[in-house]
Symmetry: C2
Subunit: 194 residues, 2 copies
DNA sequence: GTCTATAAGAGGATAGAC
DNA sequence: GTCTATCCTCTTATAGAC
């Protein structure tokens, strides 16, 4: 009932955010997409920012679930787990299910930072990735020129990389092919490693 | 006179676009920043979209100039030239001089595509980079898993990578340090090449 | 070409009935 | 909680005097 409706709202927000980003998404659109009046929407979520926040919390939770599944897999070493989480992000983005937030909107950033659910989800995921980065580093599998922070942010940034979308829009390549290229670039670089 | 004023306008647009992106930049702000009335601004540029377009043409011209200077340098092979143009993009972004366009705004994209000056600048730069990519590939210096198109788009995407900005905002690192990390990740990858 | 003033409309948010 | 109707601000763009 209430939970189901709010899930439907966040699902719509998620898709619209993935398609056009925060500024270009309007609350009217969300209401129309869900099939309820705008005023009803505001009974569930008191502002556009908190609507976006709910979508972010949702996707971070999904990422966390994906990470937990990988963590339980003994066949993968730490570097492979990092690669698989990057694959998950790219896949989610290519399927139009990755909400895009502007890196720049300060009012939105402030509200996100103030939201406990968001910060908890972000921190939880960061810690899991941080553990894997530490482990992969100890295994000698990471580029020694890069500090852990750079590795972490680079992985997060795969969620909003514009390159997969540009390649997909050409219509020439399958999602699987695009993802392999992106992973090859991200982990092995543009240059030939000899 | 007219030329100087329009240069000042585009310079302002460029900085504001770099700071907040197309949607969050308002024409009122631009007018205030230049120090003229909004109506005067519209005498020079008939729409907000064409204002952004002028900023893009300007930065593409600067990139082209940077590329020409590199082309004339016999000390650099093709891969080194690609690396230097990526460095230029990262540097420009970190200095707040890289206008950010939303990948998603279709009305803006349509106007850009329809603008001859924009398309010429984009094509000219792409051709120069394409030549270097071909050459670097012939030299056996590029990752053989990646088609030229992926290499080209990856280089263009350095201009809007969010990672440098996040690293800079921490206040812990110099621009030069950040750029070296970004180039190491982009060209050599996150993983250790053995 | 520059200004002041204003039109025209989009979009976030709310009032109040049911 | 859902609706219809409305408010109000912000923003793009233009009218018209100088």
């Amino acid at each position: 009932m209430l939970r189901a409706r709010e899930d439907a709202i966040v699902e719509s927000v998620n898709r619209l955010l993935a398609g056009k980003g925060f500024e270009l998404m309007t609350v009217d659109e969300v209401a129309a997409d869900v099939g309820i009046a705008k005023a009803s929407l505001y009974k569930h979520f008191p502002s556009k920012e908190l609507l976006a926040c709910a979508a972010m919390v949702r996707v971070l939770g999904q990422a966390r679930d994906a990470a937990r599944a990988l963590q339980a897999d003994p066949a993968l070493d730490a570097l492979a787990k990092l690669r698989e989480i990057a694959r998950w992000a790219l896949q989610t983005q290519l399927q139009g299910r990755m909400p895009l937030l502007p890196a720049q909107n300060s009012s939105l950033r402030a509200e996100l930072m103030a939201d406990k659910a968001y910060m908890d989800a972000l921190m939880g995921l960061s810690e899991q990735l941080g553990d894997w980065i530490e482990q992969a580093s100890a295994d000698g599998r990471l580029n020694p020129a890069l500090p852990p922070e750079v590795v972490l942010y680079t992985l997060f940034a795969r969620a909003c990389d514009p390159v997969p979308g540009v390649l997909k829009s050409s219509g020439q390549y399958s999602d699987a092919q695009i993802i392999e290229w992106m992973l090859a670039q991200c982990f092995n670089g543009l240059a030939k490693g000899d």
